[in-house]
C-alpha cells in the first residue's frame, strides 16, 4: 500500500491531501498559524487522523506554498505553480489555462498539450486581486467571505469601484455603506473589481480554453461569475474536490510520480 501526501502551507490557509495512488484518502484545510512548521504539522496530523494513518505510513510527501521551505517532514518541495497546475489538470483534465487565486497572490498558468507548465504569470506585491482583498472588504462590510460571494448574486446594479487598490477600495466601501447603498450591490462591485484585476493577468498571458479556477477565491461565486463575464468564456468548475485543495492535491500527485520513478 503506497501512501503519499501533499502539504500546501499558504498565507491564509494550510491544506493537506493524503492519497493512495490515485485515490484520495483524506483532506484537511486549516487556518494558517504564525509559524509555517506549526501549520504544516497540524494540517497533516489532522488529515492523517481522518485517514486512520500515522506519519511513518506515508512513503513520500511533497511540500508547497509560501511556507514550503519550513515544513519539517517533506521529502521534496515544489513551487505552487507546478503543484496547482498538476492538481488542476487532475481536477479538470481539459484545462489549458488555470487561474489560481490564493490568500496573498494570484497566478495564471498555461499548460501545454502534455499538461506541463508552458507559461505563468503572478501578481506582484499588491493585495488587489488576492484573497486578502476580499477578506479586507468582507470585514469592512461585517460579513463573511462566503457571504460576500452569495450576496452579490442578488445584486441588480453592481457598484463600479474607481480603484482596485485595497486601501482606496476600502475607503470607497465605507463611503457607499454610509450612503445607504445595498449590501449586495457593494458586494457585487467588490467581486467585479477583483475579477477585473485578475482578468488583466489572464489577458497578459493569453486565454486558451478550457479555463479552470483553483484556490480559495474560486469558491466565491461572485468573482467566478464576474470573471466568466469579463473573459467571455465559461470557467470549468472543479467538481471532484474542493478547488482550494488543488495545490496540496498537485503536491500529492507529484509525490506519487516520485514513488513511481523510484519503482
Amino acid at each position: 500500500m503506497t501512501i503519499i501526501a501533499g502539504c500546501d502551507v499558504g498565507s491564509l490557509t494550510s491544506k493537506a491531501v493524503i492519497m493512495q495512488q490515485d485515490k484520495i484518502l483524506a483532506v484537511e484545510i486549516i487556518k494558517s498559524k504564525a509559524k509555517p512548521q506549526e501549520s504544516a504539522n497540524l494540517v497533516l496530523e489532522n488529515a492523517l487522523t481522518k485517514a486512520g494513518l500515522k506519519l511513518p505510513d506515508v512513503q513520500f510527501i511533497v511540500g508547497t506554498g509560501y511556507g514550503r521551505d519550513h515544513i519539517p517532514f517533506v521529502h521534496k518541495t515544489m513551487s505552487e505553480i507546478s503543484c496547482h497546475a498538476r492538481g488542476a489538470k487532475w481536477l479538470v483534465p481539459s484545462a489549458k489555462t488555470i487561474i489560481d487565486i490564493g490568500g496573498q497572490d494570484c497566478k495564471v498558468i498555461k499548460l501545454d498539450k502534455t499538461g506541463n507548465v508552458s507559461k505563468f504569470i503572478a501578481n506582484d506585491k499588491c493585495a488587489s486581486g488576492t484573497g486578502r482583498f476580499l477578506e479586507v472588504m468582507a470585514r469592512m462590510m461585517n460579513i463573511s467571505i462566503q457571504e460576500l460571494g452569495e450576496v452579490s448574486e442578488k445584486s441588480k446594479q453592481p457598484i463600479q469601484f474607481a480603484s482596485m487598490c485595497t486601501v482606496w477600495a476600502q475607503a470607497d466601501v465605507v463611503k457607499y455603506l454610509n450612503s445607504g447603498f445595498a449590501l449586495e450591490d457593494i458586494g457585487a462591485g467588490i467581486n467585479m473589481a477583483m475579477a477585473n484585476r485578475v482578468s488583466m493577468l489572464v489577458s497578459a498571458i493569453g486565454i486558451e480554453t478550457d479555463i479552470c479556477m483553483t484556490g480559495g477565491v474560486s469558491k466565491n461565486s461572485g468573482v467566478f461569475v464576474s470573471l466568466e463575464r469579463i473573459l467571455g468564456h465559461k470557467i470549468k468548475k472543479a467538481r471532484k474536490l474542493d478547488p482550494q485543495l488543488a495545490g496540496a492535491l498537485g503536491a500529492a500527485l507529484i509525490a506519487n510520480d516520485q514513488i513511481k520513478g523510484r519503482a
Binding site: S79, S82, V117, S118, D124, K125
Partner: protein, 379 residues
C-alpha cells in the same frame, strides 16, 4: 582570491577605495555605463559607478521623487542625502533614462536641504540616444566639456597621451573579462554566476590598476581550479535593467541553477567592445561608447540587442532566460516584453520579474517564481 571583488561588489565604499582615499586619491562617482571612465582615470581620479545597495528606507528620496519612479535613482538620492557618499569628491549624472536624468535636479535640490550631500564637483553629462555622425560629434563635445570641467575644478592635467594610456589599461581589463566570461560558456563551468558577476561589478568600482592586476591573478586561479560546477544544472541567463545586486544571482543559483551569462545594466555587456587605441583618443572613446547599443536607452536598435542576446544564449548554451526589471523602468519594462515574445517564439523559455531595486526586493516571491521557472524548464 575572490574576496577583493566580493568586498567591492557588496559595499558602497570598498576597502580598496578607502585606502586610496587615505593616500589623497580623488574619487568621482558616475551613474551610467555610457560615461567613458577612461577620462577620469586619465585625470588620476578613481571613477566609481554609483550604486544604491545598503539602502534600507526611502524616507528622504520619496519626498523628492514621485511614487511611480524606479527605486534605483531613489536609492542613490537617499544615500547621497543621508551622507553615505561622504567619500565622493564629485559626481557625474547622465541621461541613462529619464529617472536618472531627474537625479541631477533632485540631488542638486537635496544638496541645499541636506548640508554636505552635494559634492563640490557635480556635472551633468548628456549622452545622445542615437549614433549617427551628428550624435557622435555632439558626444565628443560633451566629453570635451567634461574634461574641461575636471581640469578647472580639480586643477589636473588630462593629456591625450594620458587618455591613450588609460584606454590601453581599460582594454586590457576588458580582454581579461572576455576570457573570464568564456570560461562560463563551456559545459563544465569553473566559476559561479555570482562570483563572475561580482568581478563585473567590481570592475566599475575598484581602482583600475588594482582591478586588472587582481583579475589576471583570479583568471589564472579559475583556469587551474579543479572545482567544476554546472553539472546537471539548468544554465540560465539574466537580462534586463539595472542590477548590481549579487543576492539576486545568488538566489537564482541557490534554487539549483547556474547563471552562465548576463546582459544587464551592470556587467559584461558594457565591456563588449574595445576602444581604438590609435588616433584621437576622445573621438575613439565617443565612437566606442556610443556604438554600444546594448542598453534600450539607445533608440531604434532592438534588433541588434535581440541578436546580441541570441548570440550569447547560443554561446553559453543557455536553457532559459530570466528577464528582470526594476518596477517603473519604462525602457526595460517594454523591451523585456518584446524580447520575451521573440525568444519564446524560438523555443527559449523566458520569465519576467518586476522587482524593487536591491535590498528592497522581497526575495520570497522571487524565489517561488525562479523555482517554478526551473520546474517549467525541467518538465
Amino acid at each position: 582570491m575572490i574576496d577583493i571583488f566580493l568586498n567591492a561588489a557588496r559595499t558602497i565604499e570598498p576597502n580598496a577605495v578607502s585606502e586610496e582615499k587615505q593616500h589623497g586619491k580623488l574619487v568621482v562617482g558616475y551613474t551610467c555605463s555610457y560615461l567613458p571612465a577612461e577620462i577620469l582615470h586619465a585625470a588620476h581620479i578613481i571613477p566609481m559607478r554609483l550604486r544604491g545597495i545598503e539602502t534600507h528606507s526611502l524616507e528622504i528620496a520619496d519626498s523628492y521623487y514621485g511614487p511611480f519612479i524606479c527605486t534605483f535613482p531613489k536609492c542613490l538620492l537617499q544615500l547621497a542625502s543621508q551622507g553615505s557618499y561622504h567619500f565622493l569628491d564629485g559626481a557625474i549624472i547622465s541621461t541613462g533614462c529619464d529617472g536618472m536624468r531627474r537625479l541631477d535636479e533632485c540631488w542638486r535640490k537635496a544638496g541645499s536641504d541636506y548640508h554636505g550631500s552635494l559634492p563640490s564637483f557635480f556635472h551633468y553629462f548628456d549622452v545622445p540616444h542615437k549614433r549617427e555622425s551628428y550624435a557622435i560629434s555632439w558626444f565628443i563635445e560633451e566629453i570635451r566639456k567634461l574634461i574641461q570641467h575636471l581640469k578647472t575644478h580639480f586643477n589636473v592635467k588630462i593629456t591625450d597621451d594620458a587618455i591613450r594610456q588609460s584606454i590601453q589599461l581599460y582594454n586590457h581589463g576588458r580582454r581579461l573579462m572576455f576570457e573570464l566570461d568564456s570560461l562560463r560558456h563551456t559545459e563544465q563551468v569553473r566559476i559561479s554566476g555570482a562570483h563572475a558577476f561580482a568581478v563585473s561589478v567590481a570592475g566599475t568600482i575598484l581602482p583600475r590598476e588594482l582591478f586588472t592586476e587582481q583579475l589576471a591573478l583570479f583568471l589564472n586561479h579559475v583556469k587551474n581550479t579543479n572545482t567544476i560546477m554546472g553539472k546537471n544544472q539548468k544554465r540560465l541567463m539574466v537580462v534586463g535593467s539595472v542590477n548590481d545586486d549579487l543576492e539576486l544571482i545568488e538566489l537564482i543559483e541557490q534554487c539549483g541553477a547556474i547563471v552562465v551569462s548576463e546582459h544587464l545594466c551592470f556587467g559584461i555587456r558594457n565591456e563588449d567592445d574595445l576602444v581604438n587605441e590609435t588616433g584621437d583618443p576622445v573621438a575613439a572613446l565617443a565612437d566606442r561608447y556610443l556604438s554600444n547599443s546594448a542598453c534600450p536607452r539607445m533608440f531604434g536598435y532592438f534588433s541588434e540587442r535581440l541578436n546580441l542576446v541570441k548570440e550569447k544564449i547560443q554561446k553559453a548554451h543557455v536553457h532559459g532566460v530570466i528577464m528582470q526589471n526594476i518596477r517603473f523602468c519604462d525602457l526595460h519594462g517594454s523591451e523585456n516584453g518584446l524580447m520575451e515574445h521573440a525568444l519564446e517564439a524560438l523555443g527559449i523559455p523566458c520569465m519576467r520579474i518586476e522587482r524593487e531595486y536591491g535590498s528592497l526586493t522581497e526575495t520570497g516571491r522571487i524565489k517561488m517564481r525562479i523555482q517554478a521557472f526551473l520546474e517549467r524548464i525541467e518538465s
